[in-house]
């Protein structure tokens, strides 16, 4: 009986408690006694395999050529892809509107470019928010610092949230080539084949771009090179789409490029464009279309292939792994262990060996493409060599952006007389490039007084001032190129017309690029005649 009573009272008390709880909530609200609310980021569900067919993968940010080829390569693997247009100043404005204040320009351009495209889907294609969120994802590269590149996803998320695309998925193409793994459930199959396709497309794009920059300054008929390159791009893209031989496609491209008529006897200053990765790679407003501007001012441009960036990433992994391998544990850690204790550590030499093999494979594949298209005498960069060259100035353990490479490239270019002028282009607000590399480059230019070096900052506006600075630097080196050319003629005792007659007689193919002796390509052409 007593047990029954007690049960009754417990039940009743519970009812009272429940009623009280509801009452308390109301009272708390009335008295303004809410607990501080805590914000958390909504996690967005991932991209799964079952969604693959209905999902378009957006990506972009490399050169127009590479974006197109990657699109074809991924298309061949069964993905629906869409390369975003090259980011322009409208993208910058959107990036600034929806991004955090005080970001660097690549962030604004790339984030704004995505918002611009989604706005296009919403406003011009009439897609609903749900359709956009369900049917599109962005594939982008990531990093874990130390520059803001690694925080792009944070920025994408903020901008998407604020622009009304909450829930839009941003998928990180993990940068670690050293850690390839495959996840069955993921909509993106990070298989070896996936990486291989992307890397091949990047390399093919590099090779085509490099050819363009070698030929265009010397073309006789305006736009002939661009037209030829468009055809080449379609051919190579087709090869990727149909999974046909890219080498054969490259050979066909060589024939097409050879149709472009060139006059190599124009002494033009050669300008090496280095700097922050995005600013030096893009071909749009984000660097004031610098490469084209340089060409319009009568220069030949030496660009940095994206493949060098892949090599740099491999080098980073290898360099760190080798350093970690022989580290002893700290005294505190050892004090926990008894003498005689023995164990195997996880640091295997295999990692660096695989890394080396990957590097060799990339170089080999690149060189095959280069040979097929006729990209003569071109050597990919060597981050280890650049680290050695820059070691007195820049510690290679300081990472972010191009790390030690900017400094290394300047020294290399000057020592090897690779170009008359080095333009280091950096986006407004770039931490490693503007605030560190430029500071160190002043010491390099002091040690190498023969270096012609120009650092320019790109902010999206004020193009006139940037052009003016470039013109100023070009003025100095234009004369230098002409001098080299005259010296070559003098060495051979040739007059210009005479050289022209001889060159015509040689009937060198358009893709032929004279062997390096001086920075001036025209001068090198003369030396070949002698």
């Amino acid at each position: 009986m007593q047990a029954q009573q007690s049960q009754v009272s417990t039940v009743s008390l519970e009812t009272i408690e429940a009623e009280l709880k509801a009452f308390e909530e109301k009272e708390r609200e009335r008295l303004g006694l809410d607990k501080p609310k805590q914000w958390r980021e909504e996690r967005v569900s991932d991209f799964t395999r079952s969604q693959r067919d209905s999902t378009t993968i957006l990506f972009g940010g490399l050169t127009v050529m590479q974006d197109k080829l990657i699109s074809s390569a991924l298309g061949a693997m069964g993905y629906t892809t869409q390369a975003l247009d090259c980011a322009d100043n409208d993208a910058l404005q959107l990036g600034k509107e929806y991004g955090n204040r005080a970001q660097c320009n690549p962030t604004y351009y790339t984030v704004g470019n995505l918002i611009k495209y989604l706005n296009h889907l919403r406003e011009e294609k009439g897609l609903s928010h749900q359709q956009i969120v369900d049917n599109y994802i962005l594939l982008t590269a990531g990093a874990c610092g130390p520059c803001r590149f690694g925080m792009y996803v944070t920025e994408y998320r903020k901008a998407l949230r604020d622009a009304g695309y909450e829930g839009f998925r941003v998928h990180l193409f993990q940068q670690s080539l050293g850690a390839i793994d495959s996840t069955e459930e993921s909509g993106l199959d990070y298989s070896f084949e996936f990486f291989r396709s992307v890397v091949r497309a990047v390399m093919a794009g590099d090779v085509l771009n490099l050819m363009g920059y070698r030929i265009r300054p010397y073309e006789v008929e305006a736009n002939a090179t661009d037209k030829a390159l468009d055809r080449c791009r379609d051919i190579v893209a087709e090869a990727f789409t149909r999974k046909k031989s890219v080498i054969k496609a490259m050979r066909r491209c060589r024939d097409i490029l050879n149709e472009v008529k060139v006059d190599r006897l124009q002494p033009k200053p050669k300008v090496s464009v280095i700097g922050e990765f995005y600013a030096m790679t893009t071909e749009g407003d984000a660097n004031y279309r610098l490469q084209r501007f340089l060409e319009s001012e009568g220069a030949e441009v030496d660009i940095q292939p994206v493949t060098n960036w892949l090599l740099y990433m491999l080098w980073e992994h290898r360099s760190d792994a080798l350093k970690m391998m022989k580290l002893k544990r700290t005294p505190d850690e050892l004090a926990q262990l008894q003498p005689g204790h023995s164990e195997k550590s996880g640091h295997s030499i295999l990692g660096p060996i695989v890394n080396r093999i990957a590097e060799a494979a990339i170089r080999y594949a690149f060189n095959r493409y280069a040979k097929a298209i006729g990209l003569e005498g071109y050597h990919l960069g060597d981050p280890a060599e650049l680290a050695r060259l820059s070691s007195d100035y820049y510690l290679d353990e300081v990472r972010g952006g191009e790390g030690h490479m900017e400094v290394g490239k300047l020294i290399y270019t000057v020592q090897k007389k690779k170009a008359h002028l080095v333009v280091s282009v950096k986006p407004f607000g770039c931490m490693p490039s503007s605030a560190v590399s430029d500071g160190v480059q002043t010491l390099v230019t002091a040690r190498y007084p023969q270096a012609n070096f120009l650092a320019i900052e790109t902010s999206g506006d004020g193009a006139v001032n940037v052009y003016s600075r470039v013109q100023m630097a070009l003025f100095k080196v234009r004369e230098k190129a002409r001098r080299e050319f005259d010296e070559a003629l003098a060495e051979g005792g040739l007059a210009l017309e005479e050289a022209r007659v001889r060159l015509n007689g040689k009937r060198a193919a358009t893709v032929h690029y004279p062997a390096h002796r001086e920075a001036c390509t025209a001068a090198n052409g003369i030396y070949e005649l002698l």
Binding site: L31, R101, A102, G145, T330, P339, Y393, R399, A446, Q471
Partner: protein, 1201 residues
């Protein structure tokens, strides 16, 4: 004949040169008033008239300058880049010159000629100012207008280095803000101009030279250098100082001989263009002459206009009329008075940046009269005249005026408080809120005030300021820009809107800094946009600057729907139209209202506050109307007014006003710190005592930490004896060196270095820059060295950052990153050149810190910012570039990388770096590192203990503590501009991130919800708000923001440096965290070298106002908590009674004993509830953390030894 043309940002210069002799036959220099093509056409006409014999074909033209681009082609002139042109001129005319400094309207250029030692060739190194440092000549022009000097006075002005005030010349807008402050403080015009000149010279020497020395002879070129004597004198003082500092011998020549200003300096670029033409190697260009230029002016410009132009401000006339009807500010008619009446009222005065506004309100708060006056430079004089006008207005009608009270706000309020004893001196933000509420109701959500210099946006909730945003220096000057634009085109600012509404299209300005906007304006003009279009474009940029740049809240709808626009700029209907359209586009149901007295909103607020204060107090402190009008005052700035209470010796201005009772009231202007506010040593001592008292009451742990981390406080035990057993491991690899690494632990004797090395270490002196991340690891660095036998007195940290330190050593850098990184170079410099009797150091240890230890868990990495990590390399470059300053001083510079997040790697690196230099064994180095970590632990413990005290006290007393979230080096008072002390003296204890207790048991209650929800794994996990968390200092900042958000007794002050790339991505995250929890929050982003006192002042005052409200809210909450418990208990009693009655009914006639047990159970339940009421206060007290045994045992006595 060769024509050289230089089209600059403000002037056109032309020369006609004979080709054979290169002699100038004709020249002219004129301002183009932004009509470049027209002015050039005018000049060409004069040229052709001057040389009537010369046929068109005999001319060749060469054009240079920032405005030359679009004109080159139509004119048939060869374009020459301007620096090249100047270089050629100088090479031709001054072969003995080694450096050139040219200041133009918007550009500054430095050209250095250096001999290449290998080839003997003269190399030319050129640099132009960065985007952020433009506006040199233009800045001078604007400031001349502000100080009101005429051309004659300017010409006669002499440079006096003894009377200089702080002016930031980093950018034009910064400089203008400082200049306005100086003028408002009554500093004489000459001193203001001299201060500006000196600031521009110093800025150029420290930034534009990119760390190079301007070697003699130095040539000064460009308009300002040519025409302003005082500017020339500033150069002649400062340039030779750099030679002396850097040890360059320049012989006995005078500064006048070494720093020269040539005749015709303004023509150098134009002349150089011709010289280029003579040497020209490019294609020849055929001169097309005047007619071609005119055709271009008529037709070509339009064609060249960018296709990407935006829309005009209005679509149709009807739209415009409807808009006007709704938004035009109603015409105000001042009250009329009957003769003989006594008008009784309150005056409110707003001493703004460019103008002073005043209102007279009656006892009901209605406006009787408004007064507006452009500032003439002295706030007291402005006030006197305004008051005289108001008085005359009343007396002219035969009435008399009785002032019941006086309120002031704005820049001038402080000086008026002393001079005329105002009743209320309130901060502008609060004044604007009071005024807006009076006219637009209490339900306003957002107030947007745009004045000449500042943008203020206030967010309201329940009739109070919830939060606010103010333009910083980088977003200031918008109102002024509209005015300046009107003035440039000779349009009265009142007609701006009329002009702008006529545009069908508009150029798209990129929003942001006013200086950048002005650069855009110049470019658009060159493209051919008309006045109307430019006006429209600039008006459209205003809302972007307000909402995207200052407010930074992309979803405006979140802010509410009732907007009030006020401030003088709202008189400009073009600006209002742009704002209204922008707001409606984003918040379609928004109600946007323009304050009916938009220009006087601040003054009205001040008057209302004066009314409130006087009514409550019963009397006014105001000295009286006639007395104020007749006020006699003097201003004095000389040696006698200089502050001598510290080595800065700041120049000050004394404004003495003689009050009616004969008492003299002194306002001291121009001081840099609190010491400057008094005159005698006794007063300084008193001031010190008062500060000490306040500091004791309200501890500032940011300051405490800034000192503690560098102090010697941990007595390191002696090195282990040789032979003491230590554990080590052998590493070997199997499978012919290809297999996995095998590690075998063994014991061996500790290895000691020899006595000689130890003896040497005892004498070595090591200098460490007190900068950047040494604020985190200094205890480690000090204890590591001490453990190895370096005498603790021989470990020298540079001083805290100060203006003096930066001025002396900040001129070597070649890049312009965040201020902390630039200051680092000055710290290295100060260690290279020890002051006074300090002995020189043998080493400067400035390690490259790649990562740092962190309490935040589950992070991607703990990396430092790349700029901060790279700064030691930049310092190495800066001090070895021209000559090796380290070698010269006999100092070894060590900047090797250290990985603090990887202890094993750190040990290896430490020994690699110091092994040989200190002659130590690896064992010794490893052991010393262990001592370093122990020192770090003790510092953390000491700080956290004090932090816990503050937090407990705040909870117990239901009060607020202020948490500074910033990077560790923002503890440096030279970087945080001592903002925290302001709050300390206002009665708020200050916490640092490091001082927050890191005891998981203590913290758990603050992170209960996310822990239970599973969004975080432990209390140090921030992945619920930021998964991309690899920046060590930023993650700690975000964690601290989360802590503050969960702790209702903590308010936040967020500090961040200008250009901070690692903080930028967290702005949005911290905003979200703080906004969700409604934690009081003030952000001071964009901290830089200069201390923006005005801007700090208004922020501190406004935040203090919000904090005070929050304190009241907490106190109310305390009361409400008791009320809650009582009402719950009452409810409980009610429910129990009800239930018992029901039960009694149901169990009638049952066993009495059983029933008693039921009743007992209910009563016990009720007693428990009653206890809760009693305990409510007790339970609100903080619970002591359950500390682990070993933590509780820590020996805190070591701290402070």
């Amino acid at each position: 004949m060769l024509i050289g043309i230089d089209v600059g940002s403000t002037t056109v210069k032309c020369v006609v040169v004979e080709p054979e002799t290169l002699a100038i036959r004709w020249s002219r220099y004129e301002r183009h008033e932004t009509r470049q093509a027209e002015k050039l056409a005018e000049m060409l006409e004069s040229i052709h008239q001057a040389f009537p014999e010369q046929p068109l074909e005999s001319f060749s033209a060469f054009i240079t300058g920032s405005g030359a681009g679009p004109l080159a082609d139509p004119l048939g002139a060869r374009f020459v880049q301007e620096v090249n042109a100047v270089t050629l001129s100088v090479e031709k005319l001054h072969p003995d010159v080694n450096s050139v400094v040219e200041l133009g309207g918007q550009d500054a250029k430095v050209i250095l000629f250096k001999e290449n030692p290998e080839t003997g060739e003269r190399q030319v190194i050129t640099s132009m100012n960065d985007k952020c440092a433009s506006g040199t000549g233009a800045t001078i022009d604007k400031c001349v207008l502000k100080v009101g000097m005429n051309a004659e006075q300017l010409k006669a002005l002499e440079f006096d280095p003894g009377k200089l005030h702080h002016v930031a010349a980093k950018c034009g807008v910064f400089a203008e803000t400082d200049i306005v402050n100086l003028i408002k403080s009554g500093v004489p015009s000459g001193e203001v101009m001299n201060s500006l000149a000196d600031a521009i010279v110093m800025q150029n020497l420290s930034v534009l030279t990119r760390g190079n020395t301007l070697m003699p002879k130095v040539l000064l070129l460009g308009g300002p250098n040519t025409y302003l004597n005082f500017l020339q004198q500033a150069w002649r003082l400062r340039i030779p100082q750099t030679w002396a500092e850097r040890g360059y011998e320049v012989g006995d020549s005078s500064a006048e001989e070494l720093v020269i200003v040539p005749d015709n300096a303004q023509y150098y670029a134009a002349y150089g263009a011709v010289v280029f033409g003579v040497q020209d190697v490019g294609e020849a260009v055929e001169y097309r002459g005047l007619e071609s230029l005119r055709t271009f002016m008529q037709r070509g410009r339009q064609a060249r206009m960018s296709a990407g132009a935006g829309k005009g401000l209005v679509g149709s006339r009807e739209e415009l009329e409807a808009f006007r009807k709704h938004y035009a500010v109603p015409v105000f008619n001042a009250a009329r008075f009957e003769p003989g009446t006594v008008v009784r009222g309150y005056i409110g005065l707003d001493g703004g940046s460019t103008s002073s506004k005043a209102v007279l309100i009656d006892e009901q708060g209605e406006i009787l009269k408004k007064e507006y006056r452009l500032s003439q430079g002295n706030p007291i004089q402005d006030t006197k005249e305004i008051l005289a006008n108001i008085k005359n207005y009343v007396t002219e009608q035969g009435a008399s005026l009785e002032i019941l009270g006086f309120g002031a706000t704005g820049y001038a309020a402080d000086v008026l408080e002393k001079a005329i004893k105002v009743d209320a001196n309130i901060v502008e933000t609060v004044a604007h809120m009071m005024s807006a509420q009076k006219y637009c109701g209490d339900d306003i959500d957002v107030i947007c005030d745009i004045g000449g210099q500042d943008i203020k946006v206030l967010f309201l909730q329940h009739g109070q300021v919830k939060s606010f945003r103010l333009s910083n220096q980088c977003s200031a000057g918008n109102g002024m820009l509209l005015q300046a634009m009107a003035a440039q085109f000779g349009v009265d600012v009142k007609d701006y809107a009329e002009v702008a509404f006529n545009a069908d299209l508009s150029p798209r300005f990129s929003y942001g800094c006013a200086v950048f906007l002005d650069t855009d304006r110049v470019n658009f003009q060159k493209e051919g946009f008309s006045k109307e279009e430019l006006f429209a474009g600039l008006a459209q940029v205003l809302p972007k600057n307000v909402w995207q740049y200052v407010v930074q809240i992309p979803r405006m709808a979140e802010l509410g729907r009732k907007y009030v626009l006020q401030g003088g700029t709202q008189y400009n209907l073009a600006a209002v139209k742009a704002q209204v359209d922008y707001i409606h586009e984003r918040v379609p149901n928004a109600e946007v209202r323009v304050h009916p007295h938009t220009g006087e909103a601040g003054a009205i607020g001040a008057a209302l506050e004066a009314k409130r204060v006087v009514e409550r107090r019963g009397h006014s402190s105001f000295i009286g109307l006639d007395e104020a009008i007749d006020l006699h005052y003097t201003t004095r700035t000389d040696e006698s007014t200089r502050c001598t209470f510290c080595e800065n010796n700041c120049s000050r201005t004394f404004i003495d006003t003689t009050l009616p009772d004969g008492e003299v009231s002194r306002y001291i202007a121009g001081f840099a710190c609190e010491k400057g506010t008094v005159e005698s040593k006794e007063a300084v001592v008193e001031l010190g005592k008062e500060r000490k008292r306040l500091k004791g009451l309200y501890p500032n742990l940011v300051d405490y930490e800034a000192n503690l981390v560098f102090r010697h406080f941990y007595k390191v035990p002696p090195l282990p004896e040789a032979g003491t057993p230590v554990r080590d491991e052998r590493l070997s690899r199997g499978l012919f060196g290809l297999g996995a690494m095998r590690r075998k632990v063994y014991e061996r004797p500790f290895e000691r270095s020899d006595e000689t090395a130890a003896e040497r270490r005892g004498k070595l002196r090591v200098g460490i820059p007190r900068v950047l991340n040494s604020y985190t690891i200094a205890p480690f660095m000090r204890s590591y060295l001490e453990a190895l036998g370096v005498d603790r007195r021989n470990i020298l940290f540079s001083d805290q950052t100060s203006e003096e330190l930066f001025q002396e050593g900040g001129k070597y850098g070649s890049v312009d990153p965040c201020f902390p990184s630039k200051a680092a170079l000055a710290h290295v410099h100060s260690l290279l050149h020890p002051k006074g009797n300090r002995k020189p150091v043998d080493y400067i240890w400035f390690p490259t810190l790649v990562d740092l230890p962190s309490f935040v868990d589950h992070t991607m990495a703990n990396k430092t910012c790349p700029v901060v990590a790279g700064t030691p390399m930049v310092a190495q470059a800066a001090f070895t570039k021209e000559k090796n300053f380290f070698a010269e001083a006999g100092v070894e510079y060590l900047h090797d990388p250290l990985h603090f997040d990887n202890p094993a790697r750190l040990l290896q690196q430490l020994h690699q770096m110091w092994g040989e230099h200190l002659g130590i064994t690896r064992d010794e180095s490893d052991w010393a590192a262990t001592q370093g970590w122990e020192a770090m632990r003790l510092v953390d413990e000491a700080l956290q203990e004090r932090g816990l005290e503050i937090l407990n006290k705040a909870e117990k007393e239901n009060d607020v503590a202020l948490l500074m979230i910033g990077r560790p080096y923002h503890n440096d008072p030279g970087l945080n501009h001592e903002i925290l002390e302001e709050f300390q003296t206002l009665g708020y204890p200050v916490l640092s991130i490091r001082s927050i207790p890191k005891d998981a048991a203590y913290l758990r209650r603050f992170f209960k919800e996310p822990l239970e929800e599973g969004s975080i794994e432990d209390v140090f996990d921030i992945r619920d708000v930021w998964p991309e968390n690899y920046s060590v200092n930023s993650t700690q900042k975000v964690w601290a923001a989360k802590f503050a958000a969960a702790h209702k007794h903590v308010a936040v002050l967020d500090l961040s440096s200008f250009k901070c790339g690692h903080d930028a991505p967290t702005y949005g995250i911290i905003d979200k965290v703080i906004a969700t929890s409604k934690t009081p929050y003030l952000a001071m982003h964009d901290l830089d070298a200069n201390k923006p006192s005005g801007s700090i002042n208004i922020r501190v005052k406004t935040y203090a106002y919000s904090l005070n409200l929050y304190r009241e809210h907490l106190s109310d909450q305390g009361d409400n908590l008791s009320e809650l418990e009582r009402s719950i208990h009452a409810k409980r009693c009610e429910l129990v009674e009800k239930h018992l009655a029901e039960l009694a009914e149901r169990h009638k006639g049952e066993d009495a004993a059983s029933w008693a047990s039921v009743e007992n159970a209910y009563h016990a339940y009720l007693d428990k509830g009653a206890e809760a009421v009693v305990k409510v206060d007790f339970e609100r007290k903080p619970q002591p953390a359950e500390r682990p045994e070993e933590d509780a045992r820590h020996d805190s006595r070591k701290v402070g030894e």
